[in-house]
């Protein structure tokens, strides 16, 4: 029997506890921005799962492709690798397109639900897209670095890249959002 619940729990607890500690820090950031997010601009509260979700997904997809490429040998451990550049550019393009589209839909659902907007469509889409752009750029970088380092150390990138990217994505996503919201309000 290769699976036992004891093993699953024993290996799961350290990694999960570590992730949870970081996520609690993210939660405290949210609590810190509570007045803005809950009272002044609730539309950004609604956007948080979307920003983090899309960022994490783009990073994970990129990471999975990098991992497979490294395994097959179509991608080499080189900063100038062409295949890797193509993948990163495509990931950025996909991410930005999705953010713009979803930002417009969020704004419409907010208006439809009778939410107090306090911000016009264009600045809103700008904030979400700018946050998303910066987030994806950094997550792509983190994804490439994590994939390359783990591959070189003989660890399967498939096991590492996705948790690292999603945890970083949650933290950076909220921080960037606060930065851009602050810039637009002021």
């Amino acid at each position: 029997m290769i699976y036992s619940w004891k093993k699953i729990v024993r290996y799961g607890i350290p990694l999960l506890t570590f992730c949870v500690c970081i996520e609690i820090a993210v939660g405290q950031l949210l609590q810190y921005g509570e007045t803005v997010l809950i009272r002044q601009l609730p539309i950004f509260l609604i956007s948080i799962p979307v920003i983090n979700g899309i960022g994490g997904n783009v990073g994970s997809i990129l990471g999975a492709h990098l991992a497979s490429g490294l395994h097959i040998g179509s991608i080499t451990l080189d900063v100038h690798d062409k295949e890797m550049h193509h993948l990163v550019i495509t990931a950025l393009f996909m991410g930005v397109l999705t953010y713009v589209l979803i930002a417009i839909i969020i704004y419409w659902t907010g208006m439809f639900n009778g939410l107090q907007m306090n911000i016009a469509l264009l600045p809103f889409v700008f904030v979400i897209t700018a946050t998303g752009c910066l987030l994806i750029c950094l997550l792509s970088l983190i994804s490439v670095i994590t994939a390359f380092i783990s591959f070189r150390k003989g660890i399967d990138p498939d096991d590492v890249v996705s948790p690292v990217v999603t945890t970083f994505g949650d933290t950076l996503g909220i921080i960037f959002l606060f930065v851009f919201v602050g810039a637009v309000i002021l």
Binding site: W5, K7, I8, V9, G12, G27, I48
Partner: protein, 185 residues
């Protein structure tokens, strides 16, 4: 060309996940009054969403590997390997939910000098963690069963499917348990 196929296969999925995120986000929007009346509640949200994602996708990918190794297949589905995985995932959910509740209580207390009711906060997280854990585990088993029957590779399906549905179910569970606990405590 790898980049082209990536665009073709992943973009629709990304947009779909984004739409799922909007539902999760609107649930978060509905909870605004609860965030005001229960200090510390907003702190547990990222943790509990991440917890669900990590436990369920790991469960899904282990079952995927078990399928490739020939340990689980359509004729021998309800066996001990599956049972061990289910028990492991549910125990992890209970343990980590408790950790989230306790950490949220102490950090809120020390950082903001707010005093959330520890019993209230921890029971909200525990109820939400366990119910969403049970629902998502059942859902994963259902998805994998259908995937086996159709002869697809579970590795291609379970990850994205769970990522999209997982956030929505977790948000609804935490909304429900916060309402429940607020009403009865």
């Amino acid at each position: 060309m790898l980049a082209k196929t990536m665009l073709k296969q992943s973009l629709p999925l990304l947009i779909l996940c984004g739409l799922g995120g909007i539902i999760a986000g609107n649930t978060l929007g509905l909870m605004r009054d609860l965030f005001v009346s229960i200090p510390g509640l907003i702190v547990v949200i990222p943790g509990i969403i991440a917890l669900r994602g990590n436990i369920s996708t790991a469960f899904g990918s282990r079952i995927g590997s078990a399928y490739h190794l020939g340990i689980i297949h359509e004729e021998d589905f309800w066996n001990d390997a599956l049972l061990q995985n289910v028990i492991g995932s549910i125990l992890l959910s209970i343990f980590v939910s408790a950790v989230i509740g306790i950490l949220a209580y102490f950090t809120t207390f020390f950082l903001f000098h707010l005093t959330p009711d520890p019993l209230e906060l921890i029971s909200i997280v525990l109820i939400a963690g366990i119910t969403s854990g049970l629902i998502l585990t059942a859902l994963t088993i259902g998805i994998i069963y259908i995937v086996f029957k159709r002869g697809y590779d579970p590795d291609n399906i379970t990850g994205p499917a769970l990522a999209t549905v997982g956030d929505i179910i977790t948000m609804l569970c935490i909304f429900g348990s916060a309402l429940l606990v607020e009403a009865f405590l």
